[in-house]
């Protein structure tokens, strides 16, 4: 049996995005195997001048129309405006897109202002997702698959300068850890 074709069937018929785990379980294969096949499927769509695309976010996969046909499909579905974004909301979304998963505190540190209302608004509109991290006892935020679709990207890492803006946080964290280490050893 062709794993790619089976994955395509399930993604097509599902009413929601599917996680790697759900797909692997349904097909009774290892997650790694399913992941490789999904990557191949996504590449096939790109290569073969397909009408479809396979996108991924937060380990969730979804079949969508291909970005090449955005105007055609939009006219066909006669879709309407899906709301407006204020500059503060756009900024918060940008930071969450590049830095996610990110805590509210970190987001507020970068924006220099309380972001409670913006976060609630973005959650309600389904542009971001909230996940409680047990180890850190804090909520962390990532952009949603819907937001990735609005951008016409297949993966949020395709954003311009993604690795540069994303990694900055890791470097900072590493620095902070180093400083804490030095400070504590100085106190000994």
């Amino acid at each position: 049996m062709n794993l790619k074709a089976q994955l395509e069937s399930l993604l097509f018929v599902s009413i929601k995005p599917l996680s790697l785990k759900e797909l692997a379980t349904a097909l009774n294969v290892k997650a790694k195997e399913a992941e490789t096949a999904l990557e191949e499927l996504a590449a096939d769509y790109q290569r073969a001048d397909s009408g479809l695309a396979l996108i991924k976010n937060n380990n969730q996969y979804q079949l969508t129309t291909h970005e090449k046909h955005a105007t055609l499909v939009k006219d066909f579905l006669k879709t309407e405006t899906s709301g407006e974004l204020s500059q503060p909301s756009l900024e918060a979304l940008t930071i969450i897109a590049y830095r996610g998963p990110i805590s509210k505190l970190e987001l507020e540190k970068i924006r220099g202002i309380n972001c409670s209302l913006i976060i609630r608004n973005l959650l309600m509109r389904g542009l971001i997702e909230e996940k409680f991290e047990k180890t850190k006892q804090e909520n962390f935020y990532t952009v949603s698959l819907d937001f990735v679709r609005f951008l016409g990207l297949h993966d949020i890492t395709q954003l311009p300068d993604y690795s540069k803006l994303h990694q900055a946080s890791e470097i900072n964290e590493a620095l902070v850890d180093k400083i804490i280490e030095l400070a504590s050893s100085a106190n000994d």
Partner: protein
């Protein structure tokens, strides 16, 4: 299909960035020191600022005034290399990177390359002969009752959490604080800065006190003295 609304600036860093950029300056500590007064003037002119946000604007004001005082009186700070005045500069640079990235994201959205998914498609499933009704076995009327009461309790909790935020509203603005300090100095020769801060009920009021004292010093209505670095600051009228 997402529309964008325009604002003059978003938040304190947005304001700071727009001030710096309108002067065509780079983000450096020296330039931040130059812009400090303009920033303070601007936030004092903001009539309808959300009290929750005012605190954040004031935090940046305090940082700016610290940077400015450092630029004016460098000898006071010569020994303290660990001060964090460089933080605001770094913070603003990072913020600027994200503002620029947000403009790119805006362009991407405006390119209208939306990827569409079908609305709920029942017809696709008809061939699979799925039951039209598939209830969750354990859900009963009492379960729904309990669940609804939990939701109500959660809503009450959410409202309560919001109340303290509203109390953040500053009890006093800078003008009132200035008037109070003047009055205090009429009755006393000296006041201790720490005592003044101790009367503040929250962070916002503390910063308001700090700004008021700086404002009075600027208008040469009062002077500071201090026995040594980091010791008590005494305030007296000129």
């Amino acid at each position: 299909m997402i529309e964008f609304t325009q604002e003059k600036f978003s938040g304190p860093l947005g304001l700071l960035l727009s001030l710096i950029e309108s002067e065509e300056m780079d983000i450096t500590e020296i330039n931040l020191a130059k812009i400090a007064d303009e920033y303070v003037l601007y936030i004092r002119s903001l009539a309808d600022i959300n009290p929750e946000e005012l605190a954040d604007f004031l935090v940046v004001a305090a940082k700016l005034l610290f940077i400015k005082s450092k630029a004016l009186l460098p000898y006071l700070y010569a020994d303290s290399e660990e001060d964090d005045s460089g933080d605001l500069e770094k913070q603003l640079r990072m913020y600027k990177e994200f503002v620029e990235a947000s403009q790119k994201i805006k362009t991407i959205i405006e390119n209208d390359n939306f990827l569409f998914v079908p609305p709920l498609v029942k017809s696709r499933r008809i061939s699979s002969n799925l039951p039209a009704f598939s209830p969750p076995p354990k859900v009963t009327a009492p379960v729904l009752h309990e669940q609804f009461k939990k939701i109500l309790a959660m809503l009450v909790k959410r409202t309560e959490q919001k109340l303290p935020e509203q109390n953040l509203e500053p009890k006093m603005n800078i003008e009132e604080k200035i008037a109070l300090i003047r009055e205090l100095l009429l009755n006393k020769i000296k006041i201790n800065f720490s005592k003044l801060l101790a009367t503040a009920e929250n962070k916002t009021e503390m910063i308001v006190s700090f700004l008021a004292v700086l404002e009075l010093a600027k208008q040469r209505e009062l002077i500071f003295d201090q026995d040594e670095l980091f010791s008590e600051i005494h305030i007296s009228s000129t």
